[in-house]
């Protein structure tokens, strides 16, 4: 096992900066997920940790060694690829043993480690098959098995579940979580799927355009997003954003109002705000409740009954739409007028630079 440390790590292709100075500390045994939209640099960052991409600047350490210039094989890592990347001309057994074969490990050791990995992943019966005879989920297991066999310091996963169907993805997600708790290994996992990030991670790193937006536990990111980007990216359905104006502000509270919102007072911990400033109010769909004195009133334009909850699309008087997640049993019909509100402490306020200013 090993920790991973990135200090001001950069990557550029000619004049194009892909990774713009990233600092991340991943503790020994931690499950860290890089999440972000396509093109944010998360896969590049993972490939830099793997040694498959050169590092243009900064320091990358695995354990207590700086590995900037080490080839992949000397970094004590194993990687699972999106396309599985298992060797089609080898049996499952040969695939699992590949790293050990390359290292000229004794046959007994190879057999024992392959058997152990096969047992952990419940694929003893597949060992003599070729990849063409396996399903997508089984192939992904082989890829994970190949990583386990070498007992690396760090496991790297590059969107490993995105080629699987929805049901299998849920199963494999749980298996990965179990694997992490069984092995206690350091894992770095890249995904664009925030549900995967939320369910698997000890620590999430949200990336956008080559920079780290926020690092924190899943609930920390959900409840206390550092900026508009994180607030909008984490959580499903997405957080609602409404532009508001400061009416009054004192040391502990701020009074705001908007064109389609009744004035309300929220607790404030930040400083430097003054009356008349424009802010963005963020409220999660699940924090809304129908209440007669709520801040928002609008017309219901869409109702989705999901059983456990009801997702309502609410058109405000200024034409803006709110997404509201209500109880599954809430009776609600298209066309009716609905007033919703939220607990003051559940709302977030962002300044014009997009940074969060409330507690």
């Amino acid at each position: 096992m090993a920790s991973v440390s990135l200090k001001n790590v950069r990557k550029n292709y000619g004049a194009a900066d892909i990774i713009k100075g990233v600092d991340i500390e991943i503790a020994d045994g931690e499950f860290c997920v890089f999440v972000g939209p396509s093109g944010c640099g998360k896969s590049t960052l993972l490939r830099m940790i793997a040694g498959l991409e050169d590092i243009s600047g900064g320091t990358l350490s695995i354990g207590d060694r700086v590995v900037n210039d080490l080839p992949p094989k000397d970094r004590s890592i194993a990687m699972v690829f999106q396309s599985y990347a298992i060797f089609p001309h080898m049996t499952v057994r040969e695939n699992l043993a590949f790293g050990l074969t390359i290292a000229n490990a004794p046959k007994a050791e190879k057999d024992a480690k392959v058997a152990e990995a096969a047992r952990i992943l419940q694929m003893e019966h597949l060992l003599e098959r070729r990849p063409s005879q396996l399903s997508g989920g089984q192939r992904q297991r082989v890829a994970i098995g190949r990583a386990i066999v070498r007992k690396p310091g760090v496991f790297l996963f590059d969107e490993p579940l995105s080629n699987l169907d929805a049901a299998l993805r849920v199963d494999m997600r749980m298996e990965l979580a179990k694997l992490h708790s069984d092995l206690g290994a350091t894992m770095v996992y890249v995904t664009h799927d925030q549900v995967e990030a939320m369910t698997l991670a000890d620590k999430i790193v949200v990336l956008s355009a080559g920079t780290v937006q926020q690092v924190g536990s899943p609930l920390e990111l959900y409840h206390r997003p550092a900026n508009l980007f994180v607030a909008g990216f984490i959580g499903s359905p997405k957080m609602n954003f409404v532009e508001v104006t400061i009416d009054a502000v004192d040391a502990s509270a701020i009074r705001i109002s908007g064109p389609a919102m009744k004035a309300q007072t929220l607790p404030l911990t930040g400083a430097g705000q003054k009356a008349g400033d424009i802010l963005t109010l963020g409220v999660r769909p699940h924090d809304f409740k129908p209440m007669d004195d709520g801040a928002f009133t609008g017309k219901v334009t869409l109702v989705e009954h999901l059983g456990n909850e009801t997702i309502v699309n609410l058109a405000l008087v200024n034409g803006q739409h709110l997404i509201v997640a209500l109880d599954g049993d809430t009776a609600c019909t298209v066309g009716e007028t609905l007033t919703v509100g939220h607990p003051p402490e559940k709302a977030a306020l962002f300044d014009q630079a997009g940074n969060r200013i409330t507690g």
Partner: protein, 292 residues
């Protein structure tokens, strides 16, 4: 309706087989003529050409032409020489060109694209253009062999082999094939600790069956049919390959039956090689038709 479509299907199949059969016949005719003629005495051979008997084993049939061919010229030696030259050249070409293509596709190095462009540019240079300079070079090159250090490669196997162990076309074939291999397979092998040599030997080459078979067949045909170059560099009978041998044989005598026997004999290695590779080709497709 189902009956009708089944009939249609049968009819289409019949037409297809008839057309394919006719095409096959056209290709087989010369070969059958050669084989049948090689079994006949000259007088009968010439008279048979006026009828379909030319394609049938009828009349005075014997293997005499073969025995006579072997008596008149060292046919076996010619075939042996060609098999050695062709076999060694094909093997070396497959290794050198695949290794070069591997370096062009998978390894990042300065000047890679320029070098590849230059190599591909050699495709437009006809061999005849470089034959004379090559002859001058080959006639002066040193060689460390069983006789110690000697100069001049004329009249040897190496002069027929070394100039052909790498060529732009074969490198191009491998480059194109390697580019289509999933890059993640190579990266996975690297992460698992494989050196470039191990990636080449254990991952890339086992997956390269189809291109190996294609490149081998193309190179085999070129090498086995070599005429101009061996004519220039090999005067001694000891190293003479079959095609130059054919010319020599033709000058020796105009006995058509013996010439047909000679032709039949030199066709055997080609057919054997083709059949061998056809099996390898099918086997390789069966094992690599897999997406990871």
């Amino acid at each position: 309706m189902a009956q009708l479509s089944a009939d249609n299907h049968g009819l289409r199949l019949a037409v297809r087989y008839t057309v394919l059969g006719l095409i096959a016949l056209i290709f087989v005719f010369p070969l059958v003529f050669m084989l049948m003629s090689s079994l006949k005495p000259d007088a009968q051979l010439l008279s048979d050409t006026r009828s379909l008997r030319a394609f049938l084993p009828v009349g005075d049939i014997s293997l005499d032409n073969y025995f006579d061919a072997f008596r008149r010229a060292p046919v076996g030696l010619f075939i042996f020489n060609s098999v050695i030259v062709t076999g060694v050249t094909v093997a070396l070409t497959l290794f050198i060109c695949s290794a070069a293509a591997f370096a062009f596709v998978f390894i990042d190095w300065r000047g890679r694209d320029l070098v590849l462009t230059l190599i591909l540019a050699t495709l437009i240079v006809p061999f005849e253009t470089i034959a004379i300079p090559l002859l001058l070079i080959a006639s002066k090159l040193p060689w460390l062999g069983l006789d110690g250090l000697t100069y001049g490669w004329l009249n040897s196997y190496q002069v027929q082999i070394v100039p052909f162990i790498a060529d732009g076309l074969t490198i191009f074939l491998f480059v194109q094939y390697f580019k289509d291999l999933p890059g993640e397979l190579i990266e996975a092998a690297r992460v698992e600790g494989a050196s470039w040599w191990q990636v080449y030997r254990r991952v890339v080459m086992p997956l390269a069956g189809p291109v190996l078979a294609t490149a081998a067949i193309l190179k085999f045909l070129v090498m086995y049919n070599q005429y101009l170059w061996p004519l220039m560099v090999v005067q001694e009978e000891r190293y003479r390959p079959v095609m130059v041998g054919l010319q020599y044989f033709f000058q020796l005598n105009r006995a058509w039956g013996e010439i047909m026997a000679y032709l039949s004999l030199i066709t055997v290695p080609v057919l054997a090689f083709y059949l061998f590779l056809q099996r390898a080709f099918i086997a390789s497709i069966a094992s690599t038709g897999v997406k990871g």
